[in-house]
Amino acid sequence: MAEESSMAAAELLRQAELLKQGAEARLYRAVFLGRPAVVKQRFPKRYRHPVLDERLTHRRTVQEVRSILRCRKAGISAPVVYFVDYTSHCIFLEEIVGSVTVRDHIASTQETHPNPERELEPLADGMGQILARMHDEDVIHGDLTTSNMLLRSGASDLVLIDFGLSYISALPEDKGVDLYVLEKAFLSTHPNTEALFDKLLKSYAAASKKSPAVIKKLDEVRLRGRKRSMVG
């Protein structure tokens, strides 16, 4: 019987548009209950033991919807969860229609704008603020990149997505590493944005009461990262 339901999802997804093929999951665009939706389906990893794999996949799915709800309750935008199918490991989410990723927005601004730095400052501020609020809720995103933040069409409104690696922690170290992951991704994706990222951190620091300990940890993690790369 469980198979029948897994097949229901598989049948729907067979006709849906594949948006992204990731290492752990596929993302599809589909219509669900008459509304534009995206479906995130986690698939089995064959190199893992089946029972362990099932348990891990289930836990990630649960963690993802929990983090989304926790964020939304705190007023942090994340897609609405419409339905979760724990037999096929599918999450049906609201599609943020007409949005662009922060990554694409920064790239196109850098290409077309005479003074991109200036132009992108409010966005860096906004990113710092939303991450500060997320960390104040003890949500660690786990995979912060500029592709995992969306800008709603025509608005400066940021939406956080892809909480697949997220977890709950109050430790400044975990928050510092979260920011470090973003810093790495940010600076390697977007050339010449050191000042912009600095702006983001300043805004984060100003928005979060708990930021001093987090920034201190970020500095430590950076140092560790550098030492490691010197050793090779």
Binding site: M1, A2, E4, S5, A8, A9, E11, L12, A30, V31, F32, L33, G34, R35, V62, V65, R66, I68, L69, R72, K73, A74, G75, I76, S77, A78, V80, V81, Y82, F83, V84, D85, T87, F92, E94
Partner: protein, 175 residues
Amino acid sequence: MHVTQSLELFPDHKVTQVLFRDVKNAAELRQSAVEGKINGALINPTMLVHPFQVLVAANKAVHLDKIGKMKTRSLYSEVIFNLSPTNNISEAFKRFGISDGDDCVLVVLVQSTDESQLLEEITAKVDGRQVPVEEISSLSDPAKIKKLYKVSPLEEKCGTLLDAVVCRMATKDVM
């Protein structure tokens, strides 16, 4: 005036919603439902924000039915249970099912695509005035809904009340 939506995950199932006002026989209807004589869910619309809320509940009910994991005894009681933010079945019926004195009723049917006579059969039993389903929004009690689902003003900054409600319904089993 009724609204029918087929379920994308279960293409041989569709959900029909019919809204009645000035209902005079709520007690009799409820009794028939309890006796299993009504093949539909009879819902008190004041706790509903929008017909989409019912679709989310119905889709989940059909899914759980197919995998043999319903928490209640019938598909229709499962629809009512899925609307509720808690796992207390009798509380779900109290909040979302009709009560004897109600004058508004939303009838919800989950049908396979070939059973169309069911709709007339049930609507004939309701002594009331059929109105467009969209009127649900004007019958709902946002203050009571916010209290029951514990929706804070902060959350309403990042979405609608419907968003908040649907999100809780979809995730309540792991909270």
